[in-house]
Amino acid sequence: MNDHSSYMTRIDELLAEQALWGLDEADQRELDALLAEHGSEIHGGADASADSFGLTIAQIDLATGPAPKSSMPDALMSRIEQDIVNRMHGSSGPAATISPARTEDDSAPEIAGRIGPNTWTPWIIAAASLLLAAIAWLGAPTTGPQTPEDLGADRSSLMATAADLVQINWAALEDPSVTAETTGDVVWSDVQQRGYMRFSGLAVNDPTKEQYQLWIFDADRPDAHPVDGGVFDITEDGEVIVKIDPKIEIHEATMFAITVERPGGVVVSDRSRLPLLAAPATG
């Protein structure tokens, strides 16, 4: 066995043990050192290799694992559901979608989907009531809905403070949602992980049929897998500012694209409708 196959075998062994039981400190150090030196030689990268063992174990467990004699307690299921729903309504998290906040009435972030009222337990309702009372007493939360004026001010603030600011005009592609009058731009800061899109003349969409979705291309990720930047609606003609809501950290934004998707958005876009693109000038 040559040196190459020897250390690749050792990496596989350590990743296998890590997936089964986790590693002790000495083995973890050894794995870290091996990956630092040879990780780039692994097909698909070290994470994919680690996943390969995790998925294998999962597959075997699904095929041969035991079943619980009794189901998970109903109260626990309700608690978990409410926990996730609360997080969805929070200011962060992957499920919160964004809206252009055109008027006070429709300025609240839109959340796709419905709450299952059958699972609301009395104590949760009581807790929610207390929370609402506290908010009323303390005043509006700072992370609450933003007016168009707020968004405009925030955008200006970003442009004034971000040394790494990227500002790119939208380029229109052939799509029914754009016309010759459509204008706009995107501003983004990798350091602040914050950005805003402006649109004027982008067609109003019917959220029950389709929604716009932003995709952010990151230099650290393949172009086939851009980061979901959030789903949003254009509710009125005129200028609209939309806050960018990336689901994960963007290391170096290289391009922004808007697609038209089914309500709620998609995990992977087929890019069949791609009305706008913001890419730096080349050549």
Binding site: A63, A95, G116
Partner: protein, 232 residues
């Protein structure tokens, strides 16, 4: 009207070239070298819910919890110290699954496989953080080993995948299969397995590592999982 921001019309071809390759249906790339792999029939009675969960569909969240509660509960019972620990772990796991819902890639495995992988990782992390590796054998009295995966709900994995996984397990050497069965299906640590089998700890680890590598490679060859390791 927006200040100086103007729009430039570019051709679809130019846009596509900027955007790189498109995702194409169910075709997938084998990460071991870019070759195309046959995909076994992954059809189950249920559609994948994670894409809808990632999109913020709260009804999908409810369905997701109902569908996977038994699977996650079963794993937690094997790897937690007591019911209270179990409940706390399960809640953490569902929240993590919600956070990572957009990372689910159906080309790499069924949704249930992804759920199981995330669950096991979180449980191992909890075990290591709490130094409870000297625990008793989980809460295995609460588990039904006789009924097998069928009693947990066959629809979580397709019969095609279940049969291929069982066959791959049967193909292992007996001692590898025994160690892996204890580790995966009973949630036993290597120390517990060594004690139960009266086998040196190093031998247990060797059987487990080599058995799992063989299983990984076999399932990738069969197209059950979409990833295979090895040198580039």
């Amino acid at each position: 009207m927006i200040g100086a921001a103007t729009i430039t019309v570019i051709s679809p071809e130019r846009a596509r070239s900027l955007l790189g390759p498109r995702e194409r249906g169910n075709e997938r790339t084998d990460l071991s070298g870019g070759s195309r792999t046959r995909v076994p029939d992954r059809r189950t009675d249920n559609e994948a819910l994670l894409p809808r969960v990632a999109a913020g569909d709260q009804e999908a969240v409810r369905q997701f919890i109902a569908r996977y509660s038994n699977l996650i509960w079963s794993l937690a019972l094997r790897m937690c110290l007591n019911k209270s620990d179990c409940e706390e772990a399960v809640q953490e796991i569902f929240v993590e699954l919600w956070e990572k819902a957009d990372r689910f890639d159906s080309s790499l495995g069924a949704e249930a496989t992804f759920v199981s992988m995330i669950t096991r990782r979180r449980l191992i992390d909890r075990q290591r953080r709490s130094s409870r590796r000297d625990r008793a054998f989980g809460l295995i009295e609460d588990l039904d080993f006789a009924g097998g995966a069928e009693s947990r709900g066959e629809s979580l994995a397709s019969s095609d995948e279940v049969n291929l996984a069982k066959a791959a397990m049967e193909d292992l050497r007996e001692e590898q299969r025994e160690v892996l069965n204890m580790a995966i299906c009973r949630g036993m640590t290597h120390e517990q397995i060594a004690s139960t089998l009266d086998m040196p700890l190093g031998t247990v680890k060797t059987h487990a590592r080599r058995g799992l590598i063989a299983l990984r490679d076999r399932l990738a060859e069969l197209g059950v999982t979409g990833v295979k390791g090895g040198a580039a």
